[in-house]
Amino acid sequence: MEILLRRKWIIAAGLLPALLIYTLFSVYPILSSIYFSLFKWDGFSPKQWHGLQNYVNLIGDGVFWQSIRNNLYFVLFSVLGEIPLGLYLAIMLNGKLFRRDGIFRTVFFMPVVISTIVVSLIWNMFYNYQFGLVNTALRAFGLDHWAQNWLGNPKLAIFVLCIVVVWQYTGLYMVIFLAALQNVPSEVLEAAELDGAVGFKRTWNIVVPIIADTIFASVVLCISGALRAFDLIFIMTNGGPNHSTEVGATYMFAQTFNSMKYGYGSAISTAIIIISFGLIMISQFMMRSLKR
């Protein structure tokens, strides 16, 4: 430790390049975005000072709140879908049945590594009203009235997208949990078995507490990922029809680059930062109280 302290400046020098890059590509754009959000600007003409008017408009903008609500659906589905499913799969694959079988691991992890564009296009085909797999299957079973215009129905579309997100990222958390499970000492498990804790009981009372830290870290990842959602929606529905699947990021994009409101778009992105930060804080706080 003493040696470490004496070498403080060496450590600082080692951190400096990364810090510089981070500042240049992350901190600086955020700050400049906050600066732009105080103007009315179309990208060409001179900027007009707008003060906090953009934020006032934002608070009265129904579409913005709808997009944030959609973001929250994403967060809920991700945290309550991906994490439990990932954990379930990890425990299954860690069990005696599949332990030596790499193939399932690969299959479940596949959606994570496939490019989002490909995922979006594949699921677009699944959901196609006329020829899609989902509707074709329903019609084959004589459930014609269940066949839906999945992505065009404003009430359904966002949930339909949530399913895709869960499908896409469950594998990621499965792999993280698998790694954690493999660090659970076998003595503990054997002892638990001797004491009569088997199956679900053993999982819930012994395994989950041991990998709790990993689970918490995954939840934070999950929340920030869900708030950042953009590419999948951009390709599958482009926020439509009529904003029904808009999330914060797509709305910001549309306002900035399609409507050419650079100032307003910057205000939206600043608002997203604030809201995301708040959500992460709340989740941290909840986990801390859970740990106790």
């Binding site: 003409s45 009203y129 006329q130 065009g152 529905t237 399609n258």
Partner: protein, 441 residues
């Protein structure tokens, strides 16, 4: 915006009455620039960076790409450094690079309109008035290149003319349903839609995922048929309002069509390529898109699939007429204001080549109408020929909505139209109010 928008589109290129008189520079001496290489050191070629949507295998822009390649072939001393951006992303890319002051030497302008005018007025583009001597009035009438003229300065020359609305219909389905003639009035058209629906046929395929198709192919013609050619100019000047009866009636008509089931259920979740396929696979009686839609239909249709073409019908109590059609001129290359003399000279050569008689004939061959008076080549696509025949009575072109209105209004309208055509979606009045609000900002 007190420009008179109406333009005369002569169909003379099809009548082939004109034999274009080309000035000597119209076809500049492309062949022998490669001479004089022996002895002297080889000169570095002039490199022109060029941002465009053109790509070789795209049915819509392939011809321009090939023309550009032919230009390079003929001019080894000029090199095009082409950056291709997908069509749907192009407007965003264009406005952001313009805003950042990072425009390439040559820039494609897909069409005229508010974004282009904004960029031109910001001083980022070079007027080409001093080059316009290369094109004679009787070859390229100035009335047809107006969209690329801002505040009296010409910035580019369009490569093609397109109409925003052509109704493509499946002749067999129509005949089986008992229609040999396409209705000439909107009332009769609606009756036909109802009848088709009753016979369990989806009347119209639309691919409105991006929002632009309903805007240009349904709202624009309805506005024209109801209010005549100058509604948009009046709305922009404040003389009329989006919330006025004229505009709202067009929105109501769209909602009415949607409510009677005139469109494919998933019109807002598929794009126009998918919608074309829906039509070509015999799932719908009609497909509505711009005149550019003919290319994909021509490429993908089965040999025995018979396509009919119709002009948007007349609204009896309206002020518009079937001889008028919303449309646009597209595919003009504009120059960066920062070009030096060498690059400017090279760019001028490029424009001369790209908008020469030969190039225009290639553009016609690929299934486009053109603004220049050139003879139609003998080997054009018969389907395209048929379409131009069906459109022969159209004499006037009025500007489409998205060319005239500011970007914010266009974006809001796209969403509004998606709302109108979604079950349980928006009401026409609410959409109109939203647009008026956007315009006022």
């Amino acid at each position: 915006m007190k420009i008179k928008w109406t333009k005369k589109i002569g169909t003379s290129m099809l009548v082939a009455a004109m034999i274009a008189v080309l000035s000597a520079c119209g076809q500049s001496n492309n062949a022998d620039t490669a001479s004089g290489q022996s002895g002297e050191a080889k000169k570095e070629p002039v490199v022109l960076s060029f941002m465009t949507t053109w790509s070789e295998n795209d049915p819509f822009t392939g011809v321009y790409y090939k023309n550009a390649m032919a230009f390079q072939e003929a001019n080894p001393d000029i090199k095009l450094d082409i950056e291709t951006i997908p069509y749907n992303d192009y407007p965003v890319k264009l406005s952001t690079t313009a805003a950042a002051g990072k425009l390439t030497d040559l820039i494609l302008m897909i069409g005229g309109g508010s974004t282009f005018e904004q960029i031109a007025r910001s001083g980022a583009l070079m007027p080409i008035d001093d080059m316009m001597g290369n094109w004679k009035e009787d070859f390229l009438p100035s009335s047809k290149i107006k969209e690329f003229n801002v505040d009296g300065k010409q910035y580019g020359i369009p490569g093609e003319v397109s109409y925003a609305t052509v109704i493509f219909y499946n002749k067999k389905i129509m005949k089986d349903a008992g229609y040999t003639e396409f209705p000439k009035t909107y009332e009769a058209f609606k009756a036909m839609v109802k009848d088709l629906k009753a016979k369990n046929i989806t009347p119209i395929a639309y691919g409105n995922k991006t929002g632009s198709v309903l805007l240009s192919s349904l709202l624009s013609p309805l506005n024209e048929r109801i209010s005549g050619p100058d509604l948009y100019a009046k709305i922009k000047s404040g003389e009329q309002k989006f919330t006025g009866p004229d505009f709202i009636n067009a929105l109501k008509d769209i909602k009415e069509l949607s409510d009677m089931g005139a469109f494919n259920v998933d019109l807002n979740s598929i794009d126009n390529v998918q919608a074309t396929n829906l039509f070509l696979s015999g799932n719908t009686a009609m497909y509505v898109d711009g005149s550019w839609g003919v290319k994909q239909i021509s490429m993908d249709k089965a040999a025995d699939f018979e396509v009919g073409f119709a002009v948007f019908p007349q609204i009896e109590e309206g002020k518009g007429s079937m001889s008028t059609m919303p449309g646009a001129t597209n595919q003009g290359v504009v120059l960066n204001a920062k070009l030096d003399e060498t690059k400017k000279a090279a760019a001028e050569k490029f424009l001369q080549f790209m908008y020469s008689e030969q190039s225009y004939q290639n553009i016609i061959r690929s299934g486009n109408m053109v603004p220049a008076n050139v003879e139609a080549p003998a080997d054009i696509d018969p389907l395209f020929k048929e379409m131009t025949g069906a459109l022969a009575d159209v004499k006037e072109v009025t500007p489409v909505f998205d060319i005239v209105m500011p970007a914010t209004v266009v974006a809001a309208t796209k969403n509004g139209l998606q709302g109108l055509t979604t079950p349980g979606g928006s009401a026409p009045e609410a959409v109109a109010e939203e647009l008026q609000k956007e315009l006022g900002q």
